[in-house]
């Protein structure tokens, strides 16, 4: 980890000094203990702010898209010959590179506009899980040493094994090494446990319709529609989201519970072939809605129906943009 961090800083310095990139998006130490937060490095002297540890949660591809679209908008009124190109560097683990691949496939920006510093990943700590594990005590100070998280909390000193509080999406991660990159920092990481990735979904599918509906409504009742999931999701980048659209108004803005259900349902459905299971939406959700239960189903269907895993390769284009005329599952078609 230390090793990756130093190399990452060196690489950042080099890239900024050589002016290969205009900005590097990485993680810095968060303001709260045991957190890391995204940061934007534009000066070589700032490179030492960068960190790489088990607390780096957010999918940074979101910011790549944000910065590039912002820059493109700012260049709209500039004469074509005077337009400047901007290259965004990003510290990317497996899921971040998958999101970048999705952006590239959806032609959001060119491959030459993004510089990917690939980092092999061993999973990140699920903040909510950690909080539950210490019975909701406040963390005053914390450090991670040799697979153990040591904390000073309001309930006294505590120590928890890192592997017990890994995020769900990391435990079953299939692509923990970067898929595309311009440079890789560190040794490739050992595989996680991808065979059990659909266990939760399989179990849920066995429940009765009513039980599933009860679970869905229960989870959606927690949702207060702060749209944090959408803001954090790298695949949610529409200039106008359907939530804000007023003609037609797809979702009502009131307190009606079906509006929340429809909003969540459609946001989840928009992730067909686009969800990389990075866990950002789950991590930012202030109400702890179990979004992953539903997203995983979409991933599973996508794999079983279309043989596609979102962003798993540059060649495998988004499944809803293509078709197979003669070999497609058609059991769902109604024949009287």
């Amino acid at each position: 980890m230390e090793n990756i961090e130093t190399k990452l800083r060196e690489e950042t310095k080099r890239l900024l000094l050589e002016k290969k990139v205009d900005v590097i998006i990485g993680y810095e130490k968060g303001t709260l203990p045991l957190t890391a937060t995204p940061c934007f490095i534009t000066e070589p002297t700032e490179a030492d702010k960068l960190v790489w540890n088990d607390l780096c949660t957010q999918n940074l591809a979101k910011f790549v898209h944000d910065l590039i679209s912002q820059h493109k908008n700012s260049q709209k009124r500039v004469k074509p010959e005077d337009r400047k190109k901007k290259v965004i560097g990003v510290v990317a683990r497996g899921c971040t590179t998958r999101s970048v691949i999705i952006h590239l496939q959806e032609r959001q920006y060119g491959r030459d506009e993004v510089y990917i510093i690939g980092v092999p990943c061993t999973g990140y700590v699920d903040g909510k899980g950690l909080k539950t594990a210490i019975n909701g005590a406040d963390i005053v100070e914390g450090s991670i040493e040799g697979g153990q998280i040591k904390m000073k909390t309001s309930d006294g000193d505590k120590s928890i094994a890192l592997k017990d509080v890994l995020a769900d999406s990391c435990r079953t991660c299939r692509f923990n090494n970067p898929i595309i990159s311009d440079v890789i920092v560190g040794q490739s990481a050992p595989a996680m446990n991808p065979d059990s990735e659909y266990n939760g979904v399989n179990e849920f599918e066995k429940k009765t319709t009513e039980d599933r509906w009860a679970y869905f409504t229960k989870e959606m009742e927690k949702c207060m529609r702060c749209n944090a999931c959408r803001q954090a999701c790298p695949s949610c980048y529409c200039p106008t989201c359907f939530v804000e659209q007023s003609q037609p108004q797809w979702v009502g803005i009131g307190e009606d519970k079906t509006d929340t259900q429809v909003f969540q349902f459609m946001r989840l459905y928009h992730m067909v072939g686009r969800c990389v299971d990075c866990g950002s939406c789950v991590a930012v959700c202030p109400m702890g809605v179990d979004l992953r239960k539903f997203l995983k189903k979409i991933n599973k269907d996508c794999w079983e129906l279309f043989g596609n895993r979102a962003g798993s390769s540059m060649e495998d284009m988004p499944p809803l943009g293509k078709y197979n005329e003669h070999h497609e599952k058609e059991e769902f078609i109604f024949n009287p």
Partner: protein, 146 residues
């Protein structure tokens, strides 16, 4: 209103979103051939099934439809070459996901009816109406109005 819906003489409201080139013409043929089919269906004509935003279906369910039927040209016969093939993928995922969250699978139906299949159209409407009737009035995802 809810009480009325549950009563014995309740009739389902079904939204049929059909494509202009095949199923709409098929429905027309059923009409001019005077084939009888249940009057529970409200037809919405769209250029192609590929034009249907999955939101139409969810929105129909939310605003009071007891069932939604989507029908277009048979695969390979699309007026726009591949509209229905793309739509087929969208609907496969949508139907699975709707049943996953706990909607009854029979409330959303997808089928193909060509312009010459007036008889099949009537059969489809009969089949869908019977299935939705068996399920009873929709309650899930349905907005209470007023």
């Amino acid at each position: 209103m809810a009480e009325n819906l549950a009563s014995k003489d309740w009739e389902p409201k079904i939204v049929a979103i059909v494509c202009n080139w095949c199923t709409y013409a098929g429905a027309d043929l059923a009409g001019i051939s005077r084939i009888q089919y249940p009057p529970n269906v409200r037809i919405i004509r769209v250029p192609c099934t590929g034009r249907i935003n999955p939101f139409y279906i969810v929105k129909a369910l939310q605003t009071g439809a007891d069932g939604v039927l989507v029908s277009g040209c048979h695969p390979g016969e699309c007026h726009y070459i591949s509209g229905n093939l793309v739509a087929r993928r969208k609907f496969a995922a949508l139907k699975n996901f709707l049943s996953y969250i706990g909607m009854e699978g029979d409330r959303t139906m997808f089928t193909w009816v060509s312009a010459s299949e007036g008889d099949r159209f009537a059969q489809v409407i009969k089949g869908v109406t019977a299935k939705v009737k068996a399920l009873g009035p929709a309650s899930k995802l349905k907005k209470k109005l007023g």
